[in-house]
Amino acid sequence: MKHVIGWIDRRFPLTAFVKHELTEYPTPRNLSFWWNFGSLAGIVLVIQIITGIFLAMHYKPDASLAFDSVEHIMREVNYGWLIRFMHSTGASAFFAMIFIHMARTLYYGSYRAPRELMWWTGQVLLLLLMATAFMGYLLPWGQMSYWGAQVITSLFGAVPFLGDEMVIWLRGDFTVGNATLTRFFALHYLLPFIIVAAVIIHLVALHAVRSSNPSGINLKDKNNIPFHPYFTVKDLFGISVFFTVYSYFVFFNPNLLIEADNYIPANPMQTPAHIVPEWYFLPFYAILRAVPDLVGGVIAMALSVMIFAAMPYLDRSKIPGGARYRPIFRIMFYLFMLDILVLGYVGAHPPEGFLVPLGQIATFFYFAAFAFLRFFSKWEDKWLFNRGLPAEVQAMLSSEQAQKTDRRHHKKDRRETPGDNHND
């Protein structure tokens, strides 16, 4: 064995790579369980790709065959029901993991310098995930599949001048039809591999800037511990908890998150009385409906997803990290989460009665949270500095300052280049 590894190592940096990126990779020792969700999202990605490949062996992407081929998988293919329910539950699990992962990043301010690129590659991953999920949802060719695709492709009609042509081009037909189904299948098979590539970029960026931690500053070396065995064990523990919950849904409640209407074959002549997207799109759907104008609604919905990318610019507090040492930020975070739940509730119900103004108010607060973050932060900074910072924050600030000057000296020594962007 040693000989084999030695042979490889002379030709490929195997041992060095494993050591540097895994076994000895320094990881903050104060990570909480909230830091488990990145690896959990990775596990779900693997589940989705494996189950997806096996489903594709039995699925037929044709408008006249698709619905029946899914039922064929469910009834006749050996363990087809298991593979399909793992895949459909996996889609929800993926969003659940990603949403928690994002919420952790927001709460602890992990998007702040120097981790902006982590946050932005994550944003790209979110968009890819949404696109993949949306295209995959058309494949069973049920009523919800069909009308969901019809509504979302119609959104592109809001593009000025080219809108109508673009919608027809995307669908390959005047309405969602066979051409739409076959191309969605092709792209639904392709995108996960692009996601894998994007995840690798996300991880390369992670290993350059290292994990953030609850304190909000980069820890000194003595506060880092090797990834293996401490975090391999912790991640494995998280994975086993995840699989327990996941198995409950797969085996005991697989239809909980599948709309009953999706067991009715797609009918282009009739929209179901009440169409709803999958739960993970509900808040964005509520924002779309809150604006009583097509173009405005589409812009608001696109912005509601993309606005997260602006967080590194919107959050300029002088206090390191996120909510831990910033009470006002913490309150804003919880109100924002509550607001998303309200939007989700509004999105799940028909647009009638008090839900219409409620959705509009919740949409207003959603964007207001981003718009006013800077002003609240400024006021919070002032208040906290006047009140006197807790000793530990003071210590962190000065140690961070010391690390910064230290780094700057190193940099100057090495390259004689002035300026350091870490200041903002």
């Binding site: 009308w147 019809q150 509504v151 492709t153 119609s154 959104l155 009609g157 027809i168 081009w169 995307l170 390959g172 037909d173 005047f174 309405t175 039809g177 051409a179 191309r183 282009p268 002549m269 009739q270 929209t271 179901p272 009385a273 009440h274 169409i275 779309l288 409906r289 604006v291 009583p292 104008d293 097509l294 173009v295 609604g297 028909p350 647009p351 009638e352 219409v356």
Partner: protein, 179 residues
């Protein structure tokens, strides 16, 4: 001209010309090569051939509606009652005002593309018109949008009466008859 009289070669200029021509020609080539792929995603000829549909009006009683497919889209054919016609003729609709007379060839028959102009759902028939279940747009018995997020009235397909009991939906040789 003798060779030694040539001005000295301007390397920068040469590089610029070379790089520009290379990138312009290569860019044009790549763009052209992309076109077949982009175009392949547009509706194919068999999809385009579903251009017209025939619909019989026989047996649609006043107040009743029939849905027929045209280009894969639902088309509503509503046989309006006298009461509906008078109430529609006295109003101009809501968000996208238009006279009822401009929307029908024969006031008894209202022919509409049954696709909400907001995001493409099929509105459900109600007594007073249509209600879109997706985002709550409301249309009257002339297919005009009254409230909700839909920006325009329901679209009118091109159609013509071939007899008093039959229409052809879609563009035929003759331009559609205006009443």
């Amino acid at each position: 001209m003798a060779d030694d009289e040539n001005p000295p070669i301007d390397e920068n200029r040469r590089d610029f010309i070379l790089n520009t021509t290379t990138s312009v020609v290569a860019g044009a080539g790549i763009a052209t090569a992309c076109w077949p792929f982009i175009s392949s995603m547009n509706p194919s000829s068999d999809v385009l051939s579903k251009a017209t549909s025939e619909a019989s009006l026989k047996g649609i009683e006043p107040g009743e509606m029939k849905t027929v497919p045209w280009q894969g889209k639902p088309v509503f054919i509503l046989h309006r009652t006298k009461k509906q016609i008078t109430s529609m003729e006295t109003s101009d609709g809501g968000k996208d005002p238009q006279a009822d007379a401009e929307r029908v060839q024969n006031p008894d028959w209202l022919v509409l593309v049954g696709i909400c102009t907001h995001l493409g759902c099929v509105p459900a028939r109600k007594k007073e018109g249509w209600f879109c279940p997706c985002h709550g747009s409301v249309y009257d018995n002339s297919g005009r949008v009254l409230t909700g997020p839909a920006p325009r009235n329901l679209e009118l397909p091109p159609y013509e009466f071939v007899s008093s009991e039959k229409i052809i939906i879609g563009k035929t040789e003759k331009p559609p008859i205006k009443s």
